[in-house]
């Protein structure tokens, strides 16, 4: 069942001089198993939107339906939402607190109806899934490097196996391999049927992995579509206050020099394939 956001508006500091309209009349659907990227300028409302979907904020107006149920409706079981949806905040490593990596990850399983063995199995599975070396699971999470901390923090959210996963700027501060490894992990989760919402400024990353991109601009949903639709017209992308990725910009330059048939390429593999095709036998 999809995530449905219907006519949602949200204000901060209501009825004070500091009142800010963070979101205005946002509507969209994310289908089951879809990978949706969310882009937009700092302060455009991205984080507000995902906090609303995660039920951490209540919209001033409008509805958010998950699996057909209004998560702010009377009688809605919030525990169901917590089981269904996992959210990884910006810099999630600041939430690590336990004495060992193992215990930090296992904390997420505390209230699940699992046997000791099942819990241990789950921790092993999830640490492996995020690429954390098991022999280091007895270390304090606070003694790890930044990249390792990030993995452990993400593992803590994945451990409970939520079906919907929300990531807020998961790539910030990771090195290039760390970024690639995270994206491959997200792609794997996506293939396994999870719904993924990911906020990022990295156009190349979202274009390479997301099915669809939503663009927010000053609290409004200003565009949505496939990466090719969003970045097909660079001038339009500019008016949406989002920068195209490097792949798209190289494609544009090659197109203008008559070296590509179409400039609307946003994925590395496709760009490389086109360049090879056009230069075969040279």
């Amino acid at each position: 069942m999809p995530i449905e956001v219907k006519e949602v508006s949200c204000r901060y500091g209501e009825r004070t001089p500091l009142e800010v309209q963070a979101l205005k009349e946002i509507s969209f659907r994310a289908e089951d198993g879809e990978f949706v990227g969310i882009m937009g300028h700092t302060g455009c409302g991205k984080s507000t939107l995902i906090q609303l979907i995660a039920g951490l904020l209540t919209p001033g107006e409008g509805q958010i339906l998950i699996d057909g149920k209004d998560i702010n409706g009377p009688g809605y079981d919030r525990e169901e939402l917590r089981r269904t949806l996992g959210i990884v905040f910006q810099y999630p490593e600041s939430q690590l607190f336990e004495t060992t990596v193992w215990r930090d990850v296992a904390f997420a399983l505390k209230h699940l109806d699992l046997s000791r063995e099942e819990k241990a199995e789950r921790v092993r599975w999830v640490l492996e899934a995020v690429g954390f070396r098991m022999e280091r699971a007895g270390k304090s999470p606070l003694s790890l490097s930044g990249g390792e901390k990030r993995r452990v923090a993400i593992a803590g959210v994945l451990a409970a196996r939520p079906r919907i996963l929300i990531f807020d700027e998961p790539l910030a501060g990771l090195d290039p391999w760390g970024r690639l490894e995270f994206l491959e992990l997200a792609a794997r989760l996506h293939r396994q049927g999870n719904t993924i919402l990911m906020v990022s400024h990295d156009a190349d990353a979202l274009c390479g992995y997301a099915d669809r991109i939503l663009v927010l601009d000053r609290g409004r949903l200003s565009a949505q579509g496939t990466p090719e639709e969003i970045f097909g017209d660079l001038e339009r992308a500019e008016t949406l206050h989002i920068g195209a990725g490097e792949v798209r910009r190289i494609a544009q330059a090659l197109y203008e020099k008559g070296r590509l048939q179409s400039p609307a390429i946003t994925k590395y593999k496709i760009l490389l394939g086109e360049i090879k095709k056009n230069n075969k036998g040279r």
């Binding site: 300028h41 304090s140 501060g173 990771l174 290039p176 760390g178 490097e246 330059a253 490389l272 040279r282």
Partner: protein, 276 residues
């Protein structure tokens, strides 16, 4: 003049009785006015290295001279920190006041700067980063790039010679990154010595030199072109080459050879257009 001279520096973190060596036998020399970018995978010791420079971490093994100071000399630690300022990753964690001008003045007041000098120095620092019109704002009302420029102003008010940026752009959107980088470039042109840690290869193209680190060691120091077009070297450092370099090698692997390895996207397009 040498801004930084480090000889055989090693550093080990102790945590719960377990020691974790992060720097091994690093020797570096940085000229005054140089712009140095430090690249390396997460956990390679970049942040540890720069924290030794202004005494945020105590130097254990090796020799280090920053400007004319030895970070071991505790009586001159404040002088060292004034000379060698640092901007961190998260702008929100760096604010101590709810008004921009007071925030920028915080360091000056800590150093007992005469009150009558403060407004001028704050004003000068804010105009260096293009934020002079925001002195009465609350930092929390600013965009990411603006916040980070205010954090820079707080450091610049101290009139440092060396500026360290520890992933200062990683939380910003593309617009904010451009703003901070433009400031950084301007400071370099003014003759400040700059050390920048980043994971974005496109940010280091203007650096005079790159220090490439791997697992606590200085793997190589060289020009951006030398370092970034060397696929094997970058693979060894567990890094991914810039896009233009990746395309060059992927084409080469499938039998399409460009005249030279491009460093920037513009060079890549130029090289591809040269193919007959």
């Amino acid at each position: 003049m040498q801004a930084v001279t480090g000889k055989q520096i090693s550093f080990t973190y102790e945590y719960d009785g377990v020691s974790n060596p992060v720097l091994e036998d690093i020797s570096i020399e940085i000229e005054a006015g140089e712009f140095i970018a430090i690249l390396g995978a997460n956990g390679c010791g970049k942040s540890t290295l720069v924290r030794l420079l202004n005494g945020l971490l105590p130097l254990e093994k090796g020799e280090l001279k920053v400007w004319n100071l030895d970070p071991r000399q505790e009586s001159r630690l404040w002088e060292l920190r004034r000379l060698c300022g640092m901007v961190f990753q998260n702008p929100d964690n760096q604010f101590v006041s709810s008004i921009v001008e007071e925030d920028v003045a915080f360091g000056l007041r800590n150093y007992d700067t005469p009150e009558e000098e403060i407004p001028e120095r704050v004003g000068r620092a804010l105009s260096l980063v293009g934020m002079q019109e925001y002195e009465r704002y609350s930092p929390h009302m600013l965009s990411g790039g603006q916040k980070q420029r205010v954090a820079m102003a707080g450091v610049l008010a101290m009139e440092p010679e060396i500026l360290i940026f520890d992933e200062a752009t990683s939380m910003l959107d593309p617009q904010g990154r451009r703003e901070v980088l433009a400031c950084l470039k301007q400071l370099h042109e003014m003759g400040k010595t700059i050390l920048m840690i980043t994971h974005y290869v496109e940010e280091v193209l203007d650096a005079d030199r790159i220090f490439l680190m791997q697992k606590g060691k200085l793997l190589k120091s060289g020009s951006p072109r030398e370092i970034l077009t060397d696929r094997e070297l970058l693979t060894q450092a567990e890094l991914i080459p810039p896009l233009a370099v990746r395309i060059y090698y992927d084409l080469k692997d499938s039998g399409i050879l460009l005249d030279r390895c491009p460093l920037t996207n513009e060079e890549l397009v130029e090289e591809l257009c040269r193919l007959k």
